[in-house]
Symmetry: C2
Subunit: 452 residues, 2 copies
């Protein structure tokens, strides 16, 4: 993995900023921060230690605060907003896109929220109230209301003259939306079409009416799939009656796609999606303790399985020495299948129509794996311990555990999904616990039958 | 995780297609496929079993083949292309974007490649040769050459008249590029600015000259970060002399972002990024065997550590019963830290400037975790086994292993990165092996000292 130029730049910048901070050259830091795009200032804040962040924030030009807040990850955004006074929050969020505005306000304590709201303009207040009325993970919460609408019965020439009078278009405008007198969405016209068609053409003649708009209540992962399906730059959002409410642009969708993809990896290790890498140790310990606590339960369960086979363990130390191999292999194989199925579910590849086929296929992989590794490990152990009986014990339990691991790798995530539980969150712990128990049980059980 | 409407649609469609296939209603399937966007046909193919895919592919309108190939994931794209005859490949890739064109040709066997190349138009041949001259993961391989260029010394009015004559713009055109007589990039003009400014304005007056273009040899993850940094829809690509070569559009960048984010999760389980969920069992077994083979080595290493403590294991079965707990907790804690650091490296948060701070923080988390779980497990085990000596043994080894797990979770990925090895690929196995060995060694070692 080659380190990118921009990553190197981030870290040489960070070092330069840190050096300047520790030597008290605040004016210099202020200038450095001012010359960077918001994305990079956000990256600097995210890469800084919790103690350096408030100092950096103080040195950032307050005019930039809003833009930088929009770029920050949630954990850090929350901690910074909590430190700001209400007037300051109100001025920082002025002119913010409605989706970010709603997020910031939604994360304020109630008393501060009221204070901020009262110092906002009527127009902003209305935008916020509308945005906050949608679920946090819905298209409604992601959309912006800065759309340009047209009527179907005007000519391109009129539209062009209107736009020239109006001046600068909202950022990332690639489409203008055609609506009727009740704001009902009739279609869309691209800027490119406006430019390339004859000036006397009527909008009704060129508008694309086969637009599949997003509904305000659709989940953000559906929004992301919609953008990928049609390779969009922006998409209109409508209410239940098909009336235009706003539009979503691809830059916000990119964030969702990244978060969704990261979510599975973080969840599988029992971490929160937006966990701050540089959070204080006490906070990190607390957050990770649930997962470790669950694992204590799993580990004690496994120990209690071993406890059932105290007889064979006290007779033969070799059995104790070898008893971790079969659970370990089962855990790795089970997690391979699990990861594949979790990704398949996330991409929409795995569902009712092919679950049975997939189970059959992974079971076959389990049988193959079982045969291969049973043979190899039985040979190794027979040679090592000079006793073919132990080889047979490990072969039998390895085969059973590899097959069970494959079945659990498919059935656990599919079952969790049926019960609307995120398979990435609970799946890994469940599969590992299952393969540990089956592995220990078959290994120690076969040993008891054959050797005691 | 609520199942999205579109996921449900995919699977009801898949069932309908499968039902129609098995009852031989090929005409019906053909019609169904024809009415779907390429993205959905690709999703159907990706969600189908290997045996159904060639039949489906035969039923797809050949005119759609190119679009669908562009959407397919690599594994499946490769297997389909291998089955197609050269003339068919040549006609499918006609009009494909240069980046996809290069990919398809790059994956053909040499003999077929020559055949396909010879049946292509001169213009396409040139585009392919250019695209293939760049590294597969570079900006050059991602870019398309369909750009509209302007000279600085013409008026907006002239440009608008030229565009009207030219007709339809290339897909996802949001910027026109301003170049001099040697194709050197001078700046860019957005469609929005062209529309909103006065017709007699000269391009030189309105072009944005502070454009940071991408270099053709930049890595695709840098391209993705560049797009996120500036929230772009498209970006120009230049050669070493600053001459315009083409442009990259956000839809291709979205694919990179998704792949990069998925890469870590898949690698951590020892799977390939684009592994086909529905690959035949034999192929899957073969691919996953390397990872399982490495784990055999790790498991045998752990067993050989236990082997050093045969004395205590043969004296006390209780030690064997409890010996899996400490390694298990260390593995979970180590992988939490590892996952956080891998994500931090991928996002550019973790680097030389803050690695030491992060190590200190995670070590402190390790100490906290060690104290908490040593206390809890020592109490549980003392009560369970009625012997406080065993409680002390588990407390000491738990504390050491939790601290070691935290250190390994930070140091392993940072060291791998220094040696240019992907931390997601090797990190998980290394951390788990390390915590298994340290866990067994400290637990069995302390037990030997205290109890034998």
């Amino acid at each position: 993995m080659p380190e990118s130029l921009e990553q190197q730049q981030t870290h040489s910048r960070l070092r330069a900023v840190n050096d300047a901070l520790t030597s008290g050259m605040y004016v210099h830091v202020r200038q450095m921060l001012h010359s960077l795009p918001s994305f990079d200032v956000a990256l600097l804040l995210e890469s800084s230690t919790p103690s350096a962040r408030p100092v950096l924030w103080q040195l950032i030009d307050p005019d930039q605060h809003g833009d930088i807040l929009e770029e920050l990850s949630e954990d850090i955004k929350d901690s910074i907003i909590q430190e700001m006074d209400p007037e300051h929050v109100a001025s920082a969020i002025e002119g913010m896109d409605s989706d970010d505005l709603a997020y910031v306000l939604g994360s304020l304590p109630e008393s501060v929220y009221q204070q901020v709201l009262s110092s906002m303009s009527e127009q902003d207040k209305h935008r916020v109230e509308q945005a906050l009325s949608y679920d946090e993970e819905s298209a409604g919460a992601m959309m912006n209301t800065d759309v340009i609408t047209l009527r179907p019965d005007v000519s391109v020439d009129v539209v062009l003259r209107y736009l020239r009078l109006r001046g600068e278009l909202p950022q990332r405008t690639d489409m203008l939306y055609v609506v009727d007198g009740h704001d009902k969405l009739l279609g869309e016209v691209s800027l490119g079409d406006l430019i390339t068609c004859q000036p006397d053409t009527m909008i009704r003649e060129i508008h694309e009416s086969e637009v599949a708009p997003l509904k305000a209540e659709q989940h953000d992962s559906e929004v992301a799939q919609h953008f990928e399906r049609y390779e969009l730059i922006s998409a209109p959002v409508v209410d239940a009656n098909g009336c235009l409410l706003g539009r979503i642009t691809v830059d916000d969708v990119v964030d969702i796609i990244r978060e969704d993809a990261e979510h599975s990896m973080m969840s599988m290790a029992g971490l929160e999606d937006e966990e701050d890498t540089f959070a204080p140790a006490a906070k990190s310990t607390q957050r990770r303790s649930i997962w470790l606590g669950l694992n204590v339960g799993a580990a004690l369960l496994a120990a209690s399985v071993s406890n059932m086979f105290e007889d064979i363990l006290s007779q033969l130390a070799t059995i104790a020495i070898l008893m971790t191999i079969v659970p370990s292999m089962g855990g790795v194989a089970g997690n391979q299948t699990l990861t594949l199925v979790i990704r398949g579910i996330a991409l929409g590849h795995v569902g009712d129509s092919n679950a049975r086929w997939l189970l059959g296929k992974e079971a076959l992989v389990g049988v193959f794996n079982g045969l291969i590794w049973a043979t190899i490990l039985a040979s190794v152990v027979t040679v090592w311990k000079g006793d073919w009986h132990i080889g047979v014990v490990i072969a039998v339990s390895m085969f059973v555990n590899m097959l069970m691991a494959a079945l659990a790798g498919v059935l656990v995530p599919l079952t969790l999904k049926k019960f609307k539980i995120d398979p990435a969150l609970a799946g890994s712990m469940m599969v590992t616990t299952f393969t540990d128990i089956i592995g220990l049980f078959t290994f120690l059980g076969t040993a008891t039958l054959m050797l005691s």
